[in-house]
Symmetry: none
Subunit: 207 residues, 4 copies
């Protein structure tokens, strides 16, 4: 996970020296592991600093509270998820193709960073604002792509926000089931193909 990024910068106190910058990064990395493994409430500041190899007090040089570093982390990860998707969408492709590629990328990312899933999900209870922001931004991004597809005549013209949320929910739950819980029983491509197919034709029997 790329921490110490601008997203984290918003919530953390900014170090003025190189040494400080290193400490901040160590704390964020350690927190990702601690929160990912133990969850927000089981996680402890001392657990974080122990992993980071800093003194307990150093934590408070950069963060006001456990909530604060959690928020920094959630925003960091939200950003990381977006970046992963963006890379998968770098190449131009037909709209449905793009959705499939986005889902494939997401499933792979989720499988590799299961802690991200846990942390973002837990934000619903620990930092609802960030949670909401994450999904609203993601939903908006999907909707943009749908509209772009509609503009090009590849998708229906009547797509709206609810379609974007439906797709997002689909993706998230497939990620939960096959990337996070699944032990590789269904490969990402296969899952993405099914979802892509559903989007392409629906599930009704061919007439």
């Amino acid at each position: 996970m790329d921490t110490g990024t601008p997203a984290a910068a918003d919530t953390a106190k900014q170090p003025r020296t190189e040494r400080g910058r290193r400490t901040l990064r160590k704390l964020l990395d350690a927190a990702a592991v601690e929160f990912g493994e133990r969850g927000f409430h089981e996680a402890s500041i001392s657990g974080i600093t122990a992993r980071a190899g800093t003194a307990l007090g150093s934590f408070y040089t950069y963060f006001e509270s456990k909530e604060a570093i959690f928020q920094a982390l959630v925003r960091d990860m939200s950003e990381a998820v977006k970046v992963a998707a963006r890379e998968a969408l770098a190449e131009p492709a037909p709209a449905l193709e793009r959705e499939r590629a986005a889902l494939t990328a997401f499933l792979r990312f989720a499988a590799e960073h299961k802690e991200v899933y846990r942390i973002i999900d837990e934000a619903e209870f620990v930092d609802p604002e960030s949670y909401r922001q994450h999904y609203e931004t993601t939903g908006a991004r999907i909707l943009d792509r749908l509209r772009e597809g509609a503009r090009k005549g590849e998708l229906r013209a009547d797509l709206e926000e609810a379609h974007a949320w439906a797709i997002m929910g689909m993706n998230v739950f497939l990620g939960l089931r096959y990337a996070v819980w699944g032990e590789g029983d269904l490969p990402a491509e296969h899952v993405a193909a099914i979802a892509g197919d559903l989007l392409a034709k629906g599930i009704a029997a061919d007439r």
Copy 2:
């Protein structure tokens, strides 16, 4: 929320007297409110007993721990969600119609019982086993319906578990967005119509 049901009975100690039965029910109702409002970790046993109007110590006459009552509640609610869906599906109808009706019912239920959403979701962190069970059961139920539809020739023959999870994710996120967060901006029927339409035809432009 109908508490004190058989589902809760599994985890709670069984009262022998009528008075005990009343106390147990009061505790479960109070817990639903307390957990719904404050979340698992902010909630306190004394908060529950205060709402229930019982002594703090009485809690342990019926539940072994905070986790135990939470679990009882989650299973109760999981059951209640299923019941709500089952009622909506009492009438026979074409498969796609049934999915739409199920979603409508779910959206209405979620709007009326927002705390259910919160409690079931938080189970991911507090009682993962129940959480998983809830979604696996729900997913299995959807898959059953899809297969039934396929058998009747209304749905495609190649539908599998992933389709069920895709639909479930769609439903859950539409519920989050429009029933829990939404202030009634989109009515349940409209949202369900969009989702139903997506299932029927996909989102590709008509050829």
Copy 3:
């Protein structure tokens, strides 16, 4: 020190059982010693409960915070000081005689309860409201006596609040110097005689 009195009752949570009543009293007594010996900031809750022989957590059954028990104590002691004075004034006597008796009683009380001095004084910083209340009440009581003396023609008719505060300040500083700091170098009666004499005639040379 008589603790567990109505004064303390205002700030402490009221126990409903006899056992609770005993615990509350033990805590207040222990706090008087702890605060008296170590001062508010050096004192610790665990020091109080250790002296009281209760578990750390029991403290919070009765008090919300260190400040809360301190306040309870200050009010208790303020009350105790008044009671000591009242007893000394039980007998009717000429006005100047009464002031002297009050000071004697105060000096004796202060010598025996040096911690009271410290605790009330520290309230200036820890609980200014109680501190102010203590001195305003005490001042008002002195003023009452002065007016009573004036009514009886024993004291001048033009006495006002400032006279009461002047007398109170005199008393308090004599207490500090001779009862608290002094190692009995000047006996209470002697000090009180000097002050009484000052009040009677002033310090000017006889004409």
Copy 4:
């Protein structure tokens, strides 16, 4: 408040450069404000350096500890109070007149420097030695004046230390009530006149 004076010099490390001298003074001024506003325990070194506009670490270039700067300040202020009194007593005058003038000066000083009151008073708990020294010195000074008055036949011949402390207590409490707490309800002259009158004739009714 005049800080950076010889009194402070005793406890602070001596700066060698002009720049150092300026920093030291800034720290003392800032500390007076910080301690005055927040009290010793609420005050923080970082609060002091922030107000002084210096780095946190620079504090320790000049003071060994929080207590050390507090002590420097108390002695500074004790000195300042004396200086204010001395100025008021520059002119020769009858003994009772001088006491009245001293009180007037003190009341004015206290009204203008309420933080002095707080800081010196808090020394009772933070730096008892300085506190005691302050009042013993002040008491001794008053006693000197009383003896001088007695020598000149203006005051009684039997005045002793206790009289000085009685007068000091009177003054301090009148200062607390009318200069520090009072919103100018009674002007300094009026209060001083009452106290002067008390000293002159006592409070007994004229025979």
